[in-house]
Subunit: 220 residues, 2 copies
């Protein structure tokens, strides 16, 4: 599969690239193609040193999206509306994964601040052609843990979306990352329930001194 | 401590009574005092058979609240507004715990449906005198697991509220229930983040066949 990581030069994006490049062809997207190419080279050598012969390219975001089967929106919420509108023409029928969380820090705690649509995922859905298959996932993964390939990441990744096949593709991207477990969280319209986990975990992490807090669903 | 369980004749309320009656004096509240007294008798004998000498009384909800140090609102969301307004005069300076979750079943999935205030907890705060100390907790505990004293309940209970002492009292009520762990989730204004866990878990439970799903925060 060809995976475009929009915003792939950032910390979170690089983590996804490192975790998925063994199994998939990666196209790092950035506003500037040369920055994307630079990161692609760096990550290719990083993985080569670890014995992974990765296929990683760098392109501008539009080119990356056009060349891909699946797009990960690895960008901060504040850029989602403009970057999704501006790049709309590059999308055809890709699977699009949104890990985006709208939130704000108010004094010492984080609050979930969804747009009028109800969630970042539903905002993205409004902006993209209806031919793409949107899922929301990977909201609660620590970027630091994702980047460190020696680390197994505990916990679950809740996936929401309306297309069962697209959710299964996302679930397989979760399974690649040791020891994460994918969980089906329901349709896209309940994405707020999953996006809201991030500010919750950030608050719990600070107040209870749990480093890189993740979430796990348990039998009780 | 004298704990009033408003709605204490219901499944969830009875679970709290069974778990807390060893350490605390319980006043079961109900609309009708005689129903509350009946449940109090039943639970007293149930616990006596297990060697627990419990002090459990039954009263109408108003009387139960007046006689208590701490009130648990063990009632469905639909009754919260009327029951809190009608019983307002009975409150003085109690700690009040809201485990209430506003949600609706839409087709096969559950959606979080908060009131205009943003959460059930903030609605309750609006209705009660400012002299009470409101916390929100116990949203994700399975009633079935709570009622079965032979069962240790895995997972965490996230507590939100603005008064650190009230939160610590709630945390101690969590610790009584083996093996639950209390976690501070921040101020009352982020209660929606915690209430929203319940429909999330119900959806995950159904879609991934996890019985009585609870939540646990893990290091990643």
């Amino acid at each position: 599969m060809k995976i475009a990581v929009v915003g792939g030069t950032g910390d979170c994006g690089q983590g996804f690239v490192k975790r998925w490049a063994k199994e998939h062809e990666i196209i790092i997207g950035s506003r500037k193609a040369d920055r994307a190419e630079e990161t692609a080279k760096e990550l290719t050598s990083f993985l080569k040193e670890r014995g992974v012969d990765a296929r990683i390219k760098g392109m501008d975001n539009g080119g990356a999206i056009e060349a891909s089967d699946l797009v990960v929106l690895s960008i901060p919420y504040d850029f989602v509306e403009s970057m999704t509108s501006d790049l709309k023409e590059s999308y055809t029928d890709q699977i699009v994964i949104s890990p985006v969380v709208p939130m704000a820090r108010v004094e010492k705690h984080f609050e979930y601040t969804p747009p009028a649509q109800g969630s970042a995922a539903l905002l993205v859905k409004d902006l993209l052609p209806s031919s793409v298959n949107l899922v929301a996932a990977f909201h609660t993964i620590s970027y630091a843990a994702l980047q460190d390939l020696d680390r197994t990441i505990g916990g679950d990744v809740v996936i929401v979306g309306d297309d069962p096949e697209a959710k299964e593709v996302a679930a397989n991207l979760v399974r690649i990352i040791k020891d994460l477990r994918p969980l089906d969280g329901g349709p896209l319209k309940v994405a707020a329930q999953v996006e809201g986990l991030t500010p919750l975990l950030l608050n719990i992490s600070r107040l209870n001194k749990v480093k890189n807090a993740g979430i796990s669903v348990v039998k009780s």
